[in-house]
């Protein structure tokens, strides 16, 4: 890869945008466009709880850490884990500032309920890859807490899922390097997109500008 600067690492949370719509991801992460809507504000509100980097809770054999910055040189990605839980277990690894050995479980907070696509799972798996690289451990499981369900869902982080992450991330890097915002198929999901008014999805199916202009000015000549 031509760039190795960590400033150029992609944002982990972008995986979710990318799965929702490649164009949405490109608008946010390549073109740096962002527009707030009700959903993004709700999302921020939800994350206020998780976003407390200086607290570390001890609950029995469990250590709960919030807002942990993670990155992976392999994925060339960085981001923040809402919550990482460390559970004391002899099969685990040693971690900084705590006695004993621990297993590592990322926990991601989401507004809404489980989605039909894999976006949340892939994002969690990408966090797992970061944690594995930073802690030299294996992360086989994580959780996603859904606000609407008010409880967490267990997610198995298999090698297959992690492999999928690697191939999706490679595709993201390819767009990013080219600075390319892809055109995409539009659909009902466009209505739920916070970037609807910037993307102008209707442009994807519009006739060419050439025929628009020439249609108008030929009318003139004949009238």
């Amino acid at each position: 890869m031509a760039y190795n600067d960590e400033d150029d690492y992609l944002m982990l949370s972008g995986i979710q945008h990318f799965q929702f719509c490649k164009r949405q991801w490109a608008l946010i992460h390549i073109e740096q466009q962002w527009e707030e809507n009700v959903k993004t504000i709700e999302g921020q509100y939800l994350h206020r709880n998780a976003d407390q980097p200086f607290t570390r809770e001890k609950r029995g054999d469990k250590l709960v850490v919030r807002a942990m910055s993670v990155k992976s040189h392999e994925l060339k990605m960085s981001g923040i884990c809402d919550v990482v839980e460390f559970v004391q277990d002899s099969r685990g690894v040693e971690i900084n500032g705590a006695e004993g050995k621990y297993l590592v479980f990322p926990v991601e907070y989401k507004r809404g309920k489980p989605k039909t696509d894999e976006s949340d799972v892939l994002q969690l798996a990408a966090q797992a890859i970061c944690l594995e690289e930073m802690l030299l451990c294996e992360v086989q499981m994580g959780f996603i807490f859904y606000q609407e369900l008010k409880h967490r869902v267990e997610v198995s982080l298999t090698d297959d899922v992690k492999q999928k992450v690697r191939s999706v991330v490679a595709e993201m890097h390819d767009y990013y390097k080219r600075g390319h915002t892809p055109k995409v198929k539009t659909g009902p999901f466009c209505k739920n997109c916070s970037l609807h008014s910037i993307c102008l999805p209707s442009l994807m199916t519009k006739r060419t500008v050439r025929s628009y202009i020439e249609g108008k000015i030929r009318d003139e000549a004949s009238s």
Partner: protein, 343 residues
Amino acid sequence: MKRLLNTLYVTQPDIYLSLDGDNIVLLKEQEKVGRLPLHNLESIVAFGYTGASPALMGYCAERNIAITFMTMSGRFLARVIGQSKGNVVLRKKQYLISADESLSVKTARNFIIGKIYNHKWIIERMTRDYPLRINVAEFKEISGQLSSIILDVRACEDLERLRGLEGQAAFSYNKALGQMILQQTDDFYFRSRSRRPPLDNMNAMLSLAYTLLANDMAAALEAVGLDAYVGFLHRDRPGRASLALDVMEELRGVYADKFVLTLINKKIVNKDDFYTKENGAVLMTDEARKKFLAAWQNKKQEKIEHPYLGEKISWGLVPHAQALLLARYLRGDLDEYPPFLWK
């Protein structure tokens, strides 16, 4: 499309603008004279020597609310712009095209097609609406000339020649513009464009309308991540918002000229609204400027169907829509820049 919010025009020169929570507070000699929630505002335009607190400017910069300072006579002084919106890739593309005349002309000619097309249809509408008041034969002839110039512009591959064609079209249109003044013809007339200073009532109003439009255009371009100062038709000149002037070409007639004509023809303004200085410079009175701005704000709320997007939007959002379409063209979503072709 986004929602059109309000613009706050501050026309008294001794008002200080400050921030309190999420509100703008207007102070006159330390006394509160007004208070408005900022989330309803799209921009703030202050005329005369007004001050604004850094806190307010910071708040507005963060939220994309444009603050513009003008002289009392409506000449542009300064605009507060926040951190330029990311989008380096878009700007680089813009600079690349701007640096190359043969690429620039392909976009520039579409601005001019828009301008001439809209001028033509202003003229055509007049022949339809006032056949008994105007010289229909002459108007039809001018309209025919504009039609044929549009076809030449469409095929034009050279910026210098494009400017020539634009001049030719402007000459024809200006002949009709004066004849579209149908009321108060002793006090309002148009012979040619005069500015710095405007020398008649019509030119005084055109100047203000163009300034307001250029300002909205510049703010819209910056908001979608483009650099309002780097143009394709207007070449770079320090301090000139060339791209704003470029995109504005297509809106001059249909937005500003028609607006000014309406003020005269509906007798919303009259001769008492103007003041002539010793050197012939014509100024609008404070009262007149207030009427003008109130009417301008109403015009912005009027709905229109966007000819390319096919969406109903308000006139006030047209600059934003064109800025957005230009950005999308530069990013490769569209085969050409679609001008706003009004009918």
